[in-house]
Every structure is written in structure tokens, then in C-alpha cells.
């Protein structure tokens, strides 16, 4: 039985693992992602798994979220895992995604955490790059 992943104010290894597992399932379902990272939202005081998905621009966020929810439900067999509300989708044209892509190779940043950094003029509180 899948267990609920507690998304806390602090980034945990279980959150990183759950994020990577979901990415694998989403890729297996055919969802294309240009980037994926855990991003800290200071106002909400929580981390959100953030996915840059080209389909957001062409199909819209509703279809993308529907696909993600279907994968989450299938992955968890009806049991709570990573909560859908802890997932955010972005256009690959979103400022943060473009900044990350232009700062350096995303592959080189995979598995790295950047805290309190200014990337090409954009301040990022805290981010953990999955891919």
C-alpha cells in the first residue's frame, strides 16, 4: 500500500523520492516535461513539485492536471501518495523555467539544491532540481 508523502516546510528525501517516482510514471504515460523541480513558496511556506510541460501552452492546464491526477490515482491504487495539490504545472516559457534553462545545463543542475540564489536577475528562495 502506498503511504501518504508528507509535504512539509522542509524538503525531505521522501519528497524528492516521491517526486522522482511520479516523474517516471508521468513520462511512462507519455507526458513530456522540459524541467521538473521542487520549488519553495515562501508565502505558502510549502514546497511544490513544479513541472514545466509544453502541453500547458497547447492543451491548457486543465487537461494536464487531469492527466496528472489520473496517474497519481493509478500509482497510488486509490491511496494517498503525493497529493495533487502539491504539484504545479508551468509553461516552459515561464520566467523561472527560462532562467534555469539559460543559467546552465539543466542536466548539470539535476540533483542540486539552490538556496537564496539570484539567477539571471530572478531571485529564487529555494529550489531542488530533479531534471
Amino acid at each position: 500500500m502506498a503511504e501518504a508523502v508528507l509535504v512539509t516546510e522542509y524538503l525531505t528525501t521522501s519528497m524528492i523520492d516521491a517526486g522522482n517516482q511520479l516523474l517516471q510514471k508521468l513520462e511512462g504515460s507519455g507526458l513530456v516535461m522540459d524541467a521538473a523541480f521542487w520549488l519553495y513558496h515562501s508565502e505558502a511556506a510549502e514546497w511544490r513539485l513544479t513541472l514545466a510541460v509544453p502541453d500547458v501552452d497547447t492543451e491548457g492546464p486543465k487537461r494536464v492536471y487531469t492527466r496528472i491526477l489520473e496517474v497519481l490515482r493509478a500509482q497510488n491504487g486509490g491511496h494517498p501518495g503525493l497529493s495533487p495539490v502539491n504539484v504545479t504545472v508551468l509553461s516552459p516559457n515561464a520566467t523561472l523555467v527560462r532562467v534555469l534553462a539559460s543559467a546552465t545545463s539543466l542536466i548539470a543542475l539535476a540533483g542540486k539544491r539552490l538556496s537564496g540564489n539570484r539567477l539571471n536577475g530572478v531571485y529564487v528562495d529555494d529550489i531542488y532540481i530533479l531534471r
Binding site: 513558496h41 497547447t58 492546464p61 486543465k62 487531469t66 491526477l69
Partner: protein, 74 residues
């Protein structure tokens, strides 16, 4: 009181007294879950976005006004 000084919709659920009912809706209603995921991404910083696509705007509007599973129903 300090918790209401925020634009973050997720954080506002608790001081509004809606957290428990909202959690129940998320668990039991897939359409509401999808709509909330769209709405929760709204930020007051969106006004600085150079481009918001037509489909993203339509999805946001529909998620809010959906009479059955929208985020302004009730």
C-alpha cells in the same frame, strides 16, 4: 490573524474555516480537484507575466465559475 495577510489561496483556507470541507472535496470530487489545482496556481505576481495564453485564461475562468465543481460555488 497574521495568516490572512497573504494572497496565497491555499493558506487562506484555514483562517476562512474552509480547510476541512475543502480537503473532503479534494478527496471525493475529481473535477473539483482539477479545478482547484488550476486556481491555486494564481498569484498576484501574474500581473507581471508578459504572456498568458488564451487557453490558460479560459481554463482559469472555467475552474472558478463552474457551477457544480468550481471554486466559487456554494
Amino acid at each position: 490573524m497574521h495568516d490572512v495577510y497573504t494572497h496565497d489561496l491555499t493558506k487562506l483556507l484555514k483562517p476562512a474555516g474552509l480547510k476541512a470541507a475543502h480537503d473532503q472535496m479534494l478527496k471525493s470530487n475529481i473535477d473539483f480537484n482539477v479545478n482547484w489545482n488550476i486556481v491555486k496556481d494564481w498569484s498576484e505576481q501574474d500581473r507581471y507575466k508578459p504572456v498568458i495564453t488564451e487557453i490558460a485564461s479560459k481554463d482559469m475562468y472555467a475552474a472558478i465559475v463552474d457551477p457544480k465543481n468550481g471554486d466559487c460555488h456554494g
